[in-house]
Amino acid sequence: MSSAASESAHAETWLVRRREEWRQVGIVAVYWSLLAAMFVWPPARSVPVFAAACYFSFLNSVVIHNHLHQGVFHSKRLNLIWRAVLSFGALYPASANIPAHNLVHHHFDDDGQPDWATPDCVRFRWNLLDLLHFPNVAGPQTFAGVQRWALISRHPNFVDQYRRETAFAFGLTGVLFVIDFWTALFFIVLPQLYGARCILRINLIQHDRTDIRSEWNHSRNFVGRGFNWIMCNNGYHTIHHNRAGLHWSELAEAHQREVVPRQDPRLDEPSMVAYLLRTYVLHWLRPARLDLSGAEAGSGLTSREHRRAEANDSAMAESTA
C-alpha cells in the first residue's frame, strides 16, 4: 500500500493518523505525569517512581524516533508542536533525528564518512565501559554533524524548528531550575539525560559486531513480544532500517516476512535483558565480529542512495506545516 493510500485508510481516526498512535501519546503522558508528580509532590520522590521516570524517558526517545519517521497526528502543525513536547522529555531537539538518524544512521554513511553513531567510536577493552561511554562520543559527534548539516540543508524550516524545540526544552527545564533547583536537577534532568543517553546506546547494542555493509545482516533484532509492545516494535531493527517508510505497527509482521528468511539467525535475540547481561556483564571483553559472509540471501531492496533520497523527501514533507 502506498503511503498516501495508507494514510487515507487511517484518516477516520480522530486526531491521530492511526489508532496505534494512542500508545505513543500514552507513553508520553505517563512520562510527563511521573516527572510532574516528582516535582510537585515529595512523597513521589521514591525509587519506583524515579526508576519508572527514567524508563519512560527512554520510551519518550523511542517516540521521538517514531514521530520523526511518521508524525503521530493528522495536523502537521500539531506534529511540530509535539516535537517540542518530546524535546523537553529528552533535553535535546527532536528534529536532530532527521539528519542524525533518518539520513545518516539509516544508511551508515555521512557522504563517505562513518555514521555519527558508529559502534567503532568506542574502544575500551572492558566492554561494559564501551556501553557506558558510548553516548559521550556519539552524542557530540551527532550534534556536531547536525550543525554541519544544518548549514547546507535544503529543508526550509529545519533551523527555525530546531531552535524552537531547543528553546522549549531548555527554557522549560530552566524555569523548573528557577522554581526549585535541586528537585529539577535530581528528578527532572537526571531522567531526561538517562533517556537521551540510552537511545544513543541503542545504536551500539543494535549494530555492534554486525556487518553494516550487508543489506540484511546490519542489525541485531530483539523479538520479545512484551518488549516490542512497550517499545512500539523498535526491537525489529533490520526491517526498520530497510523499510523506513513502514509504520512501526507493521514491523513485526514484516520482520517475519522479509528479514527472517534472509538474515543470519544469530541476529535475532529473544531478550534484550539477556543479551545485555551476556554481552556487557558476564563477559569482560568485546565479542568478536560475527562472520556473516554468505549468510545473506538476496537483497530485494533499492539502493541505499535511493532510500536516502526517499527519507529526505519524507522528512521534508513532514516538517512543512
Binding site: N136, V137, W182
Partner: protein, 267 residues
C-alpha cells in the same frame, strides 16, 4: 502493591540523590579521561618512532614530475543555504597516502632508498596548518562554477593534495613489521608534542574541573548557594566535556587522516 508508606520506605532524599548524581558524574568524567589515556598510550607508542625520525632532502623521485610522495583528501563541497554571502562548506570523504619511491639525502649523512608504497604500507603527513590555509584560499575565477555545482545534489567535488617533490625537506619514520612507514613534510616532533599536550590537558583538566565542582557541591551548608553553584558547574561540565573530549580526540588524529573540512566564501 506499594502504598504511600511503602513508597516512603524507598524515599529518595536529597542526600541520596546527590550521591547518585555525583557518582554518575564521576563515572563519566573518568571514562572521558580514560579514553584520553588511551589516546596518550597510542601517542606514546608513536613517540618512540617519531623521536627517531630522520631528516633529509629529496634527491630523486620515481613519481610524475619528481613526485616522491603525496597525501590527498577527497572533499565534497555543498552550498550554504542560510542566505547571506555565498559559502561552500567542505566535507572530507576520504584521505589517502602514496609513496612513489626515490632517494633521500639524510642530514646525518648517507642516502636512504625509499620503495614505492600505497595506503596501508605508508602514511604521508602534511603540515596541517599550511594545508588548511592552502585549501581555504578561494579561487575567485573558480568560485562561481564551484558554487553552482555545490548547489546541486551531487555537490562540488575537489581534491586537496600535498606533494613531496625533489628538493623538499622530508622527515622519514621507518616502517616496522607492525606499523607503516611515515613521510612528513615538516618536523613531526612539533605535532607530537602539541598532541600529547592537548590530551594531557584534557585528561588532567577534566579531573581538576570535576574535582572543583564536586568540592563546591559538597560545601557546607549542604544544598546552600555554594553547593548549588557546584552542582550547576558539574552539570555544565558534564555537558561541555563530552564535545571537548571528542574535539581533542579529533585534533590528535595522525596528520595523514586528520580532518580538513573548511569553507570557501565569495568575495
Amino acid at each position: 502493591m506499594i502504598g504511600l508508606t511503602g513508597m516512603l520506605v524507598l524515599e529518595l532524599d536529597g542526600m541520596t540523590m546527590a550521591v547518585i548524581a555525583l557518582s554518575l558524574f564521576w563515572i563519566h568524567v573518568l571514562l572521558i579521561s580514560g579514553a584520553g589515556v588511551m589516546d596518550l598510550v597510542e601517542l606514546g607508542r608513536l613517540r618512540r618512532r617519531v623521536l627517531a625520525a630522520r631528516a633529509g632532502e629529496v634527491r630523486s623521485a620515481r613519481g610524475p614530475g619528481g613526485l616522491l610522495a603525496r597525501n590527498w583528501v577527497e572533499q565534497l563541497g555543498r552550498l550554504d543555504r542560510r542566505g547571506g554571502p555565498r559559502q561552500i562548506h567542505f566535507h572530507d570523504r576520504a584521505q589517502h597516502s602514496e609513496v612513489f619511491g626515490g632517494q633521500v639525502a639524510l642530514a646525518e649523512g648517507g642516502e636512504l632508498e625509499l620503495v614505492p608504497a600505497s595506503a596501508g604500507q605508508a602514511a604521508v603527513w602534511p603540515e596541517l596548518g599550511e594545508r588548511a590555509k592552502r585549501a581555504g584560499q578561494v579561487d575567485a575565477e573558480r568560485f562561481g562554477q564551484a558554487a553552482v555545482a555545490a548547489g546541486k545534489a551531487k555537490g562540488f567535488e575537489r581534491i586537496v593534495e600535498t606533494r613531496i617533490v625533489v628538493g623538499d625537506r622530508v622527515w622519514v619514520i621507518d616502517g616496522e613489521p607492525a606499523s607503516r612507514m611515515i613521510l612528513a613534510d615538516h618536523d613531526p616532533r612539533a605535532w607530537l608534542a602539541r598532541s600529547i599536550g592537548l590530551v594531557l590537558a584534557l585528561v588532567i583538566g577534566n579531573v581538576l574541573v570535576a574535582g572543583l565542582c564536586t568540592l563546591l557541591a559538597l560545601a557546607s551548608p549542604h544544598f546552600g548557594w555554594v553547593s548549588m553553584i557546584g552542582a550547576a558547574g558539574a552539570l555544565g561540565w558534564f555537558l561541555a566535556v563530552q564535545p571537548l573530549g571528542v574535539a581533542v580526540h579529533d585534533a590528535v588524529r595522525s596528520p595523514d587522516s586528520a580532518f580538513l573540512r573548511g569553507r570557501w566564501q565569495d568575495g
